[in-house]
């Protein structure tokens, strides 16, 4: 019993340390946006996918490359456009004249971290090409199923402005993103630090991701993901998370509530949050801290609230204020 406890403690300490290292490494080149980095990291360890919303030029690509650089992982980038085809993402089979047989040419999806840039610019058919890989971690090309490499994460971005000619993500796909993180303009001090960092680097116009030394290996990423299972979730905390998610289904002002997948995602994210503090158990604060990114893309506000200019975050904050925290 004691050895098990010791092992768990060791694993948790390792996890907290590894997460801290990754976070520090990313911050070497990606200044500010602590919440976004934290959300991304938690989601990555929780084996989820991230939908990132923000205007262009805020460092989304840099963030992906920085995360991949931390474990020497591969990154892929697909710029979604209206004429993008599903096979441009997944890959396709092509007839080899020399060998007289079909051979599969894998698409950019076969990578560790895939940046799906401006995902809402492609039609639903193309967006749906990501559904299988996001859920099953596998890709089917001409009846042959291929497993993607682990760790795998899709980081999709969408632009909150310039909505002309975009295709809003279908609910089924939105639900597959574990979190939606909002990346906003940095404050003045942070922006000054960014500019200063760029000027110090070799490249005068961009931050140098090569400066990041890999701090964890791929196997350690896998180990991190296994450690999350060691984090205990008390019944009262589980109940608290479920009550929050259920409240979205009945709350006035919300047209469509979150699915049970949201409850699973909340707990998974909360476990990583606890792990970051080397804690072997989840507390209600962990749940509350991940509720916004987990739920904000899973609910739809009623038309009158949208007309009034209310956003999902303020509605969710009110909702969190209505769900009693466990105290006994």
């Amino acid at each position: 019993m004691n050895s098990e406890t010791d092992h768990a403690s060791e694993e948790l300490e390792f996890a907290a340390d590894a997460l801290n290292k990754i976070s520090t490494s990313i911050r070497q080149v990606f200044v500010g946006q602590e919440t976004v980095v934290n959300d991304l990291l938690r989601c990555f360890v929780a084996s989820g996918h991230v939908l990132l919303e923000g205007v262009p030029g805020l460092g989304k690509t840099l963030l992906v490359r920085a995360l991949a650089a931390c474990f020497r992982g591969e990154t892929g980038r697909i710029q979604f456009t209206p004429d993008l085809m599903p096979s441009d993402i997944t890959g396709h089979s092509i007839f080899n004249m020399k060998d007289s047989k079909f051979e599969v040419r894998k698409g950019p999806i076969f990578t560790n971290i895939l940046l799906a840039d401006e995902i809402n610019r492609a039609p639903a058919k193309t967006q749906a090409a990501l559904l299988e890989v996001m859920q099953e971690q596998s890709v089917s090309i001409d009846d042959v199923t291929f497993q993607v490499e682990s760790p795998f994460m899709v980081l999709a971005t969408q632009n909150p402005i310039e909505q002309d000619g975009t295709y809003p993500l279908p609910e089924a796909e939105l639900d597959r993103f574990m979190i939606k993180s909002m990346i906003d303009y940095p404050d003045e001090k942070t922006e000054a630090s960014i500019v200063e960092l760029v000027l110090q680097g070799k490249h005068s116009t961009s931050l140098n991701v090569d400066a990041i030394e890999p701090c964890v290996s791929v196997s350690e990423i896998e180990r991190l993901r296994r450690v999350t299972a060691l984090v205990e979730v008390d019944e009262s905390v589980l109940s608290y998370a479920i009550r929050i998610v259920r409240e979205t289904r009945f709350a006035p002002g919300i047209n469509r509530g979150a699915s049970p997948r949201a409850s699973i995602a909340t707990i998974a994210m909360a476990r990583v949050a606890a792990m970051q503090e080397a804690r072997s158990y989840v507390i209600p604060d962990d749940v509350k801290s991940v509720a916004l990114p987990v739920l904000r893309h899973r609910i739809a506000l009623t038309t009158d609230l949208e007309i009034e200019g209310k956003n999902t975050d303020s509605v969710l904050e009110d909702l969190l204020n209505r769900v009693d925290a466990p105290r006994s």
Partner: protein, 471 residues
């Protein structure tokens, strides 16, 4: 007035049937009649806003009602006789001297709806108008009285409905809406904005009721003229003349003199007339149809024997109006009851504050839990009995309640342990540290199944007694 172009069927009607006809006229031409009313009344509304006191505004608006109604009456008479509706034609009705009498003490006359058509539509002098009223209505103004009363009632209902609607749509909860309605109806306490709204509501109500009020009066007038002057017969003859005009003209050309024929066959004509006048059709008794339950009274009053009790027949227009009014009132009642229960459910049913369209939820201050009389002893008892979770749950809950009560931290039921610590960062250092230690002890046990040692528990209890809730 071109009677042959009349757009309604004239026939002798009971007073209720003529009221029904008036309602149908109002419904048929509601839009042009309303527009004519608004065009004349709107300047008075704007002028009324110059008065500081609401009562003065309302009295001013009300006092000049005969002027606006005159526009409606002129429009209605033009439309009824298939005339061309022009401003000049409407203004023609304002030359009547008696119109200005209605702006004096005669403003309080109940019979205005009946008398105005005589004044406006018949080119008579003052005395002739009075004689004609007596002759036409025979001092019977029952329908005019009832129409005035009904109009007042409708106005009051519309005003209350508009005010209620406004407050129920603008206020977030039932109590505020109800208070608003009560407040606005007490004209001494309302604000400037509310007084403007109330004036406009009364203006709208006056406009709606005026169309029906004038139309019913006009229909009654038509009916009285039909009965007393045989307008229906006149109309019939005029139509026949129009159709047979050419034949008659030819007949006159062919026959040298009608008088000649009359002289020659005078005796025969007398005989024929005597025979016709003695036919049963022209000597039948009048049958008075009265409502069944009133038959005895009518019999006694009129001192006649042949009173035929009958069921009163309501005209289709009145029936439809009555049905619509009933439907509106019942619907309004149902909606109000539903709204009331919805608000009750929203407030108490879910056990939580409403989200209020995404607005910030009202703070839900931590409920004062039922703590045992002696918290310290109860916690110790739980602990010594091995009920560690209960002991620490009570310790933590009591700590939150005492801290919230002592330092007014506004801790909510939805606040997690971390939120509570953040809210207590400004309290004195000893209490804050004590709160942190107790919270950490509680967290380890509650969510990590880490039962604290005896020493940890006693430390937490000591801190509780020293800094949070001295026994």
């Amino acid at each position: 007035m071109q009677i042959e172009k009349l757009q309604v069927v004239l026939k002798p009607r009971s007073m209720w049937e003529s009221a029904d006809l008036g309602t149908q006229l109002a419904v048929r031409w509601f839009f042009p009649l309303s527009v004519s009313w608004i065009l004349l009344a709107l300047p008075f509304l704007l002028i009324s806003f110059q008065f500081d006191h609401l009562l003065a505004q309302l009295v001013f608006l009300w006092w000049f009602k005969p002027l606006y109604e005159r526009a409606v009456l002129m429009s209605l008479s033009i439309l009824t006789f298939d005339g061309r509706l022009t401003i000049r034609a409407i203004l023609g009705g304002f030359t009547d001297i008696r119109l200005w009498f209605y702006l004096t003490i005669f403003r309080f006359s109940w019979a205005r709806s009946e008398h105005t058509p005589i004044d406006a539509l018949e080119d008579l002098d003052f005395n002739a108008q009075s004689q004609r009223r007596h002759w036409l209505y025979a001092s019977d103004s029952r329908i005019a009285f009832l129409v005035s009363l009904f109009g007042l009632l409708i106005e009051a209902i519309i005003v209350v409905a508009l005010v209620s609607l406004f407050y129920f749509l603008t206020q977030s909860d039932f109590n505020s809406a109800y208070a608003g309605v009560l407040k606005i109806l007490n004209i001494n306490e309302i604000s400037k904005e509310e007084s403007v709204f109330l004036t406009i509501a009364i203006f709208i109500a006056m406009g709606i009721s005026a169309v029906f009020y004038v139309s019913v009066g006009f229909a009654t007038y038509l009916d009285r003229r039909t009965i007393k002057e045989g307008w229906d017969l006149e109309l019939g003859f005029k139509k026949i003349i129009n159709r047979l005009g050419i034949v008659v003209f030819g007949f006159i050309l062919v026959v040298p003199s009608v008088d000649l024929l009359a002289n020659e066959y005078g005796d025969d004509i007398d005989e024929t007339l005597t025979r016709v006048l003695s036919t049963p059709e022209l000597n039948q008794s009048t049958t008075i149809r009265v409502p069944e339950h009133l038959s005895e009274y009518v019999q006694a009053m009129l001192k006649v024997e042949d009173v035929e009790p009958t069921r009163y027949r309501v005209g289709i227009g009145s029936a439809v109006m009555a049905w619509i009014l009933r439907f509106i009132l019942i619907s309004a009642l149902v909606v109000m009851i539903g709204f009331f229960f919805y608000k009750l459910y929203e407030k108490y049913g879910t056990g939580s504050a409403s989200i209020n369209k995404g607005g910030k939820a009202p703070p839900q201050i931590i409920r004062v839990r039922k703590l045992p009389r002696n918290v310290h002893r109860t916690i110790q008892t739980y602990w010594s009995d091995g009920q560690f979770r209960d002991a620490l749950a009570l310790l933590y809950s009591a700590t939150v309640v005492y801290v919230d009560a002592t330092f007014s931290c506004d801790i909510l039921d939805s606040d997690t342990e971390g939120d509570c610590i953040r809210k207590t960062k400004n309290i004195d250092a000893d209490s804050r540290d004590a709160f942190r230690v107790i919270t950490q002890t509680w967290l380890r046990l509650a969510y990590g199944n880490g039962t604290p040692s005896e020493e940890s528990f006693q430390t937490a209890m000591r801190l509780f007694e020293q800094h949070i809730a001295p026994s």
